[in-house]
Symmetry: C2
Subunit: 346 residues, 2 copies
Amino acid sequence: MSEPASAPFLLACRNQPSGRVPVWFMRQAGRSLPEYRAIRGTGSILDAVRDPELATEVTLQPVHRYGVDAAILYSDIVVPVAALGFGVDIVSGVGPVIERPFRSAADLDRLGPFDPGAHCPWVQETVRAAVGELGDVPLIGFAGAPFTVASYLIEGGPSRTLARTKALMLGEPELWALLLDRLATIAAAALRAQVEAGASAVQLFDSWAGTLSPDLYERGVLPASARVFAGLADLGVPAIHFGVTTGELLPLLAKAGAHVVGLDWRVPLDEARQRLGPDVAVQGNLDPAVCLAPWPAVEERARDVLARNGGRPGHIFNLGHGVLPETDPSVLERLVELVHGWEVRP
Amino acid sequence: MSEPASAPFLLACRNQPSGRVPVWFMRQAGRSLPEYRAIRGTGSILDAVRDPELATEVTLQPVHRYGVDAAILYSDIVVPVAALGFGVDIVSGVGPVIERPFRSAADLDRLGPFDPGAHCPWVQETVRAAVGELGDVPLIGFAGAPFTVASYLIEGGPSRTLARTKALMLGEPELWALLLDRLATIAAAALRAQVEAGASAVQLFDSWAGTLSPDLYERGVLPASARVFAGLADLGVPAIHFGVTTGELLPLLAKAGAHVVGLDWRVPLDEARQRLGPDVAVQGNLDPAVCLAPWPAVEERARDVLARNGGRPGHIFNLGHGVLPETDPSVLERLVELVHGWEVRP
């Protein structure tokens, strides 16, 4: 195992010149890969991640195939609450389904205290094994942000509106704050365990934060997410903060304490950098749906993303959301080639 | 029937002082109303709208209950393509489902020519009957924008990613342009027929336009939507242009030719007006999910929307998307009262 501190991905996270533009893809380890489908089996992902050998192999697959600049732990944002026994299943084609959704203060007792080493030791085992294999390719650990995890626990299943979640936030602000505080503690503990096991960076997924207006985000969500980042500050690893439809939230996502803000494809990268200022790195932001178009269109759109960064340091190329399962892996291969061949102007 | 030209809603559409802030709600006619559920029956909405007596009653219900400043025709954005025989069903809890989705140039023949008076005469009948009852309350006609209707025809059912739609746009730009051109002609004809029957304003719903980056919107969608608005210019009625997650698209939505741009709740109203400039009116933008919270929270959020307009003319209060079915109608009643009581500073 070599020291990856000078890896292009980690330099870019720190907004420093990185020689080339680093690239990885959210959900790079997953259903779009035939080698994943070959070993994954049909059970729940929550069972698959309990198998460190399998989870390690899945984590490494995209690094081997694509030569991406970072691996990301094969896991799921509901792993900690599931390991705590909250009663979470992940239904194929649906998403997380909660047997008894969060309804009142009594449900707080179902959320902790969380001890990663005791509740889900397989996560650290997977991180250790993967880092041992990765050499100088950094591994990204991750957790779900308090808001997004709360939305699953409250809605009980997929929801387009998050109406119950917002009603709780607005109608019972004290209970809401306790819930988010609990989930912040859990997320921070999960990320710390992954870093202690060898992860070189972390990403906090607040996938649905962009369903909130900036006001509500700042009042009801930012304090808890800021606690997660603050709880990791002593570890000295870069932190990425990501959600979709967050154009209006970008400065707040940075304010929460992230070094890198992940962008979906709706906001042009140059516009996003302007909103974020010179001190924050960005990750993104090719529309994953574009990857289903013929290559010349993919290439044109990818070059547009690269060009909008204008050669500044602090850009990690990625999609604006996860790889779609129907994506042809050869398109991602060509994307990596294109990004690595992009000449970074000094 | 009196002349509604001086109605607050129409004055606000024209960015002129309107005495009070006008208010209506997207999906105000619908499942949240007990009087709607009482007369609606269980059949498809596509059957319900073919009954002018029923459709007129449903159109009027929210005006009677809430005293809103505008009615909106009870219909659906897929009515024209369904009337043309494209093979569209609306499945409860799912949305539009297409028997044979749009796949190739041969499918263009299934989309026209469209003659509203021949293909769906009941629409004009409903407009005439409703306008006859509404007195000085304006009726808004509406149609689906080419992109959003195309997305249903191509995806064949609900899709979170619109991946097929985007792949067609990028991969077969000529076929895409022909499809959008066809749908623009249909939308313009549908809106013209509604205005000729008495509608005082129109709204073009491009609900999913915000899934596109500004570049792709401008290149692949704006020309067709601009053709819809241009095709109505001689009618002299105000035109509203609406979609969700459109924060980055707002200037382009106006550029297409709308007098009013509808805002979802993600973008603060003052920020939106800044992006749009002084000549464009706005409609919005309370989060419909907020209406499920206790009244003090609803009130606080609604006052925030009103305050952000800063007393300028050209603000029509509305939600940022449709009324959620589980909304308590008494909350909307109180909202109308609040908005009408808001003192417009000179």
